[in-house]
């Protein structure tokens, strides 16, 4: 019966049940205007056999204040950027301006139907067009589609563009021989998954001891003649700029392949260097990283795809173009890979990103990049005496450490991450990239000041000390949260993925 006892902790906030467990028959939290047309028996409109017969059983019945309290209480269990530094490497958890939120809620945008005629939506289309112009300037790549809904969606789009280009260039027979996508061993998991969706098989490129792409291995893999392209993150997921990028591009191009750049780490480059100038053919951006649209607890994102003039004919349709002063949807690209999403993409994110670009201005964009890199450099500097840094090179916007020294005392990366929670910080990205054992990838972004960086460094150094002096303290962390570490293995063995009403005991 233990599970039936509501555990009393410090405050009711800590005990908020599932909404389904709060439901009371007959309670409502809404009111609609009374039906103002002549009501017909519903069976005359929809045949009985098509009507729901379960009376929506299980859907909650609660009041408005029930709902408010429910979510406000639950919200207090979350950590968020607005509470403090959120140094998840590769995720770029920067401040989400309230002004951008306000822009996205202007009724003339928020209330606009996506199938409005172009002449009824000129302002909205102009926003898309202006953002396209800005992003092509920032990347140095002139072709663009804002249709993809997230980074991985942009990757899929970019890789499909490569595939379509090669199919067109080499013809069916030639193209069939090029079905290999090269991906470094440090890449995000979405890269191989996206390549697979486009019908490519993946070959993995090794990284050097310095943490950069192994050029010899790249040459070797390119010699087979089967390479369609390379997917490269730059700066890479170790936070290092691939300084041989021009040579890398030239090796791939000479082998007849194209270079795709994963733009997850563009926060290190905006206003400083442009992928288009490096020889990159196609890139995706994450508006929810670099351009500050909120992460929202796992989306929405927006993953624009930018490409060279040569690849432009293959971009998704419709394209948003300007024609004699009018903005319009252009479908006339017969070589297009097609549509990747209904309507025009995650438009609300485009509004926010354009607002970000405009409030920062060109100098502010570069300053943000400088601050992001300086902050990471400062952390790298502050932690080197306590944590093992696997690569010597100075990092760009994020820095990777390992648990090598702490592991000797039985304290591992996961423990350090959990202990950081007790110090009031969200943990860094852990165990990624996969090539670094016990990786801790730290990305402070530009949205933290020196004081908080110092606090973070102090916390990390304190944990390093604890690992030496009192390892159990770290291993059992966190100590201050509403719940402790959850048994994830048990959760995966017998998954419970939804609430169900308690079984009523039946008298057989």
């Amino acid at each position: 019966m233990k599970s039936d006892i509501t555990k009393v902790t410090t405050h009711i906030n800590a005990n908020e049940a599932l909404i389904f467990e709060r439901s009371q028959p007959g309670r409502v939290g809404y009111r609609l205007p009374a039906l103002d047309v002549d009501e017909q028996p519903i069976g005359d409109i929809v045949p009985q056999k098509f009507l729901r017969d379960d009376d929506l059983e299980g859907v909650p019945e609660v009041s408005e204040v029930d709902v408010i309290r429910h979510f406000v209480r639950m919200s207090t269990w979350n950590y968020s950027i607005d509470q403090g530094m959120y140094p998840l490497g590769s995720c770029t958890m920067k401040y989400n301006s309230r002004l951008n939120e306000k822009v996205a809620r202007i009724p003339g945008f928020a209330g606009l139907h996506p199938l409005s005629e172009a002449e009824d939506a000129q302002g909205a289309l102009q926003v898309i067009y202006e953002l396209q112009e800005d992003l092509t300037e920032i990347t140095g790549l002139p072709g663009i589609s804002l249709q993809p809904a997230a980074g991985a969606h942009g990757e899929m789009t970019g890789v499909m563009i490569i595939r379509a280009f090669i199919d067109a260039r080499d013809g069916e027979g030639g193209s069939a021989k090029r079905r290999t996508m090269l991906i470094p061993d440090s890449a995000h998991g979405t890269n191989p998954a996206s390549a697979h969706l486009s019908g490519f098989s993946v070959k993995t490129i090794r990284s050097t001891a310095e943490g950069l792409t192994d050029l010899d291995h790249l040459r070797e893999l390119c010699a087979g003649g089967d390479v369609a392209g390379l997917m490269l993150t730059n700066p890479n997921t170790l936070g290092l700029f691939e300084r041989n990028i021009q040579e890398i591009c030239s090796i791939v191009h000479h082998a007849g392949g194209l270079v795709y750049m994963d733009g997850a780490n563009m926060n290190a480059l905006v206003g400083v260097a442009r992928p288009g100038d490096m020889g990159v053919d196609v890139i995706h951006l994450n508006l929810h990283k670099t351009f500050s649209t909120p992460h929202g607890g796992g989306g929405p994102g927006c993953g624009p795809c930018c490409c060279t003039k040569e690849l432009e004919p293959f971009l998704p349709v419709p394209r948003i173009v300007k024609d004699a002063g009018q903005f319009k949807l252009d479908f006339s690209y017969p070589q297009s890979i097609g549509r990747v999403k209904a309507f025009l993409g995650n438009y609300g994110m485009m509004l926010r990103a354009l607002a970000y670009i405009q409030t920062h201005g060109n100098d502010g964009l570069r300053e943000a990049t400088e601050a992001a890199v300086l902050n990471a450099r400062y952390i790298a500097h502050g932690l080197t005496s306590d944590y093992e840094k696997p690569f010597n090179a100075p990092p760009m916007h994020e820095v990777v450490f390992t648990d090598k020294r702490q592991a000797r005392k039985g304290v591992h990366t996961l423990d350090i991450a959990k202990r950081l929670i007790d110090y009031g910080f969200h943990p860094m990205t852990i165990y990624f990239p996969l090539i670094v054992q016990g990786a801790m990838l730290i990305e402070p972004t530009e949205s933290v000041g020196r004081q908080e960086l110092d606090q973070f460094i102090d916390a990390m150094r304190a944990i390093a000390r604890e690992a030496q002096e009192d390892p159990e303290l770290v291993i059992n962390a966190p100590h201050d949260t509403r719940i402790g570490r959850l048994d994830e293995a048990a959760a995966a063995r017998k998954p419970v993925l939804r609430w169900k009403p308690k079984q009523v005991a039946t008298t057989a």
Binding site: V67, H70, E117, G151, G296, K341, A342, T359, Y378
Partner: protein, 435 residues
Amino acid sequence: MLHQVGLTSAEELFDSIPRDLRLTRDLNTTRALSEIELLAGFEQLATRNPGAQRISFLGAGAYQHYIPTIVDHIISRSEFFTAYTPYQPEISQGTLQAIFEFQTLVCQLTGMEVANASMYDGSTALAEAVLMAERVTKRSKILVCGAIHPEYLEVITTYVQHAGIELLHAPADTATGQAGALDLLDDKIAALVVQSPNFFGCIEDVAALAEKAHAAGALLIVTVTEAMSLGLLKSPGACGADIVVAEGQSFGVPLSFGGPYVGLFATREKYARQIPGRLVGEAYDKEGRRGYVLTLATREQHIRREKATSNICTNEGLIALATTVYLETMGRRGLQEAAAQCAQKAAYAAKRIGELEGFSVPYTGARFNEFVVRAPVDAKQLLARLASESNITGGLPLSRYYPDRPNEFLVCVTEVNSRGEINALVEGLASQGKM
């Protein structure tokens, strides 16, 4: 700080980038705008969207519904909208419990056993369903019933082009507007795909289609673009569907020119390990306290890489939260009432328009809140005149997708359209239709 890290200038931060790759000029983007200037600029652009200011009967995959005020209030809380994907469960229980409730609500509405934490939108959710059907059945043909949203069809065509999957089409019946004969349904078909209510607003006989699909050993994928219909119509799960996907925008999400919306994805428990995307499950800590975690991650890209069930990573977390707040606020009775009002008002509108001289409502199939109207004149021009003279967006000209149907348009009526608005539409059509 620069000195502390051993540098003398900001430029040195970028020493690892070869000098000739560094930008030596300012970006050609705008100078920094103040809040006042920025808002003025966007407000001005917004005035150039007259479509947002009209009385509207436009649906076709994106719907205008009542949104309780608290939805935006809750999703605007810092703790929700500025959090990341809940990788650290101890400090993400708010997001995780909300997703668990979302998954439960999606199951209840669709009549299915498991649902994921969301997809990008309805169209991509359908594409993922098609890919999943191929994995489950090891068959490579998909039969699509004709009256599916044309943009959804385009999206799945894009997704399957390199997956070795062949899409076949079964045209809609020209009299009823519902699924027609399924001559191509055989034992090579992985799944039959049907939208209900379909693109023309007609309710499909999902149970009958499920029976036919299952007889051929195929799965039935049901896609719903107007999720509000789930408040009134028998759930796809109760009709025998194997995978149900839906666009969740109707549940508390503004039109916002097409996004962000949220894809709902639900299936049978036996296929749980084939689901794309994130799943949240119940878990317990050492003290026996209940919590929630991301689970069954071995399906996902960060573990399985190219062998993952999908490449999806970021999904539509905050929009799924909006949907959850909406569904809980409207609740069981609110959903039923809103859905019933949609059906009643659409029936009233269809009857009035059908009585107009020269106009007809051609399809005989039962409908929820959308219907095709055949006008005596070119529909696009008719609707343009209606917009400029009566300030009403009267619907979607079908010629946008079907150039051979110039005189037809699709009308959508929801609970937000008053009787007065419907009457104004009818009167406007009557006067413009005469020209």
